[in-house]
């Protein structure tokens, strides 16, 4: 028996009888969560080790993963989706989070007028559903409607316009930027909250030492908000490696043109559920879900056990 358990018993000497109400309070949440979330997750991981052999579901060990990684038919799709997904994530880290931090930094300037209005307005896209966001941008970027070329004409850049969503080399970048546009609100809000949390004394002390403006942001504020940037990064990571909806609404389940915007979420959907002439395959779907699970688990663990522990936290 560990020390904490002993302490527990000593701390609660009065209520010794079975406290049924604790079980009653916990049961509904525990049951729904376990039955609908945890068990299916475990079952999916288990299914990834099984496949049809001569018409019967049989244990095949890691064979599904071997097929996924090296079978000429499937592996090309898988590696393509994985590398697109990595690019998708990198674009978010390079554009969404810095832009979010910049907006938050500007919003947190003391006595800025209309700050609440800017904040609310910039958060609007985050609330819209992917269907709305996907189609609005499809229309705006469409060469038929001419909004984007018309706007570029105003600044004399019309010759640079191209149907970005329709070209294999630019489609992934375009879709990623649409997603960035939608989600900038999240880093903005979290970083904004962290910036407001910095005590005035710290900033005043910095001012007394002659550190103001830009150098104050880089030398004082940025180190103080690093933990929040860490949280934003891990949220971005989980969200990106689990993304599906936006690609599906903008480019369809085939994630065209020519698979150039295919990510793990759309690959999972097609593989598991089937699409057009492709049959749905439960075992391979489960295998892809298992790979996504391992990727997300690895990212979250890296954050929890390595990055978060090394990060310096300041107590005020």
């Amino acid at each position: 028996m560990s020390d904490t358990e002993i302490a527990d018993i000593e701390a609660a000497p009065v209520k010794r009888s079975t406290r049924w109400h604790i079980a009653v309070f916990l049961a509904p949440a525990f049951l729904v969560y376990t039955a609908v979330m945890i068990l299916p997750l475990i079952e999916t991981l288990r299914l990834s080790l099984f496949n049809m052999v001569e018409g019967q579901l049989a244990f095949v060990g890691l064979n599904n993963f071997k097929v996924l990684f090296s079978d000429p038919r499937l592996s090309a799709d898988f590696w393509n989706a994985l590398s697109n997904n990595v690019v998708f994530f990198i674009i978010h880290m390079l554009v969404q989070n810095p832009v979010g931090i910049a907006i938050a930094a500007m919003l947190s300037v003391p006595n800025l007028r209309f700050a609440a209005f800017y904040r609310s307005a910039i958060f609007v896209p985050t609330l819209l559903s992917f269907v709305i966001v996907g189609f609005i941008w499809k229309l705006i970027l469409s060469p038929i409607w001419g909004i984007a070329p018309g706007l570029m004409d105003l600044v004399g850049l019309k010759s640079f316009f191209a149907p970005w969503l329709g070209k294999p080399d630019t489609a992934l970048l375009a879709v990623s930027l649409i997603s960035v546009w939608q989600y900038v609100g999240i880093p903005m809000m979290l970083i904004y909250a962290a910036l407001l949390n910095i005590p005035d004394e710290v900033l005043e002390a910095a001012e007394c030492d002659g550190i103001t403006g830009w150098s104050q942001f880089w030398k004082i504020k940025l180190p103080l908000i690093l933990p929040s940037i860490g949280i934003v990064s891990v949220l971005t990571f989980v969200g990106n490696f689990n993304a599906f909806d936006l690609i599906y609404t903008v480019q369809g389940a085939l994630a065209g043109p020519n698979g150039s915007t295919d990510i793990l979420g759309t690959l999972l959907y097609r593989t598991f559920f089937g699409f057009q002439n492709q049959m749905g395959d439960r075992s391979m779907g489960a295998t892809i879900a298992a790979v996504m699970f391992l990727i997300i688990l690895a990212g979250v663990s890296l954050y929890l056990f390595v990055i978060q522990r090394r990060m310096r936290r300041y107590q005020f």
Binding site: D8, A11, I22, V24, L26, P28, A29, F30, V32, Y33, A35, V36, M37, I38, P40, E43, T44, A102, M106, V109, P110, R113, F114, Y118, A121, I122, F123, P125, L127, L128, S129, F130, V131, I132, V133, I136, L139, I140, W145, G146, I147, W181, M189, L190, A193, L196, N197, V234, D245, T249, G265, L268, F272, F273, R282, G285, A286, A289, F293, V300
Partner: protein
């Protein structure tokens, strides 16, 4: 916070940048809503203009209301969202109370177990969830969506609510116990009313992903009778892709409820996200 530093140029630049980004954020929404009220010709000829009496037209909305069962989709979304939120709040608050109020063996472990779902998306279990729903005969029912969304919302709800419940005074609860209140009465009559602000925050956080989700409606309930607004709009737009009036009107209709809720709850939502900032 008090010193207004004399840097008018810097302030002007900041406003300029923020206004520019606000335009970027709102322009697409503006464009959609404005054009949904125009005739087809006007949409193409003058996409940026606001509707004038000569270009005003409701033909898109007429198509949407005639062709798609949007009222039905709205009802489905509303039922799924409201019931899921209610269950998340009730079950989540009960579990959060048990975890924060009582000391029992396995408390920490259970807390960690329930927090797993904050980081691991429920989507990854879809293969087995569908299998289970097929076995239970729940495919193409709103119940299947409600179950999934309840499970999805619980981890964050329990996490946030138990933080708040720790701040409820012990003296109050003990006074209730001395007055002979049962543990259930203490929870429902003393603690729940006190954590209402936190419940509102959790409700808003839970609501947005449920209302906007496309994945589970597509997989678990794609039938005509159980389509949610998000899925209904997606399918409708897919069919009417060349009828721009109808597409823009469908999009505007889908934006409307979210905007109404945002206007009502924005203070709650922003306070929830920035909480901790309020010292």
């Amino acid at each position: 916070m008090s010193k207004a530093r004399a840097a008018p140029l810097r302030t002007a630049l900041i406003h300029l940048a923020l206004i520019a980004y606000t335009v970027v954020a709102l322009f697409p929404v503006f464009l959609t809503v404005v054009n949904s009220f125009k005739s087809r010709n006007a949409i193409f000829r003058e996409p940026m203009a606001v509707p004038t009496p000569s270009t005003f037209s409701l033909v898109g909305y007429e198509t949407v209301l005639q062709q798609g069962d949007f009222i039905g989709y709205f009802q489905n979304s509303l039922v799924v969202t409201v019931v899921s939120i209610a269950l998340v709040l009730l079950f989540g608050a009960m579990a959060a109370f048990a975890l924060s109020e009582y000391r029992f063996r396995g408390n920490t472990l259970l807390g960690l177990y329930l927090a797993l779902g904050i980081m691991i998306p429920i989507r990854l279990g879809t293969v087995a969830i569908l299998q289970g729903m097929v076995a239970a005969g729940l495919v193409n029912t709103l119940t299947s969506l409600i179950l999934v969304y309840t499970a999805q919302g619980l981890p964050l709800a329990i996490f946030i609510l138990s933080e708040f419940m720790r701040t409820v005074s012990d003296d109050l609860k003990n006074a209730g116990r001395i007055d002979g209140l049962s543990e259930y009465a203490i929870f429902f009559r003393l603690v729940l009313p006190l954590v209402r602000p936190a419940m509102a925050t959790v409700a808003v956080f839970t609501m947005i992903p449920i209302w906007n989700d496309l994945w589970f409606p597509l997989i678990l309930a794609p039938g005509e009778a159980t389509k949610t607004v998000t899925l209904g709009a997606q399918m409708f737009i897919g069919q009417f892709v060349t009828n721009w009036n109808a597409v823009l009107s469908a999009l505007s209709l889908a934006i409307l409820p979210v905007m109404v809720l945002y206007v009502i709850f924005s203070r709650q939502l922003i306070r929830g996200i920035t909480s901790g900032a309020v010292k």
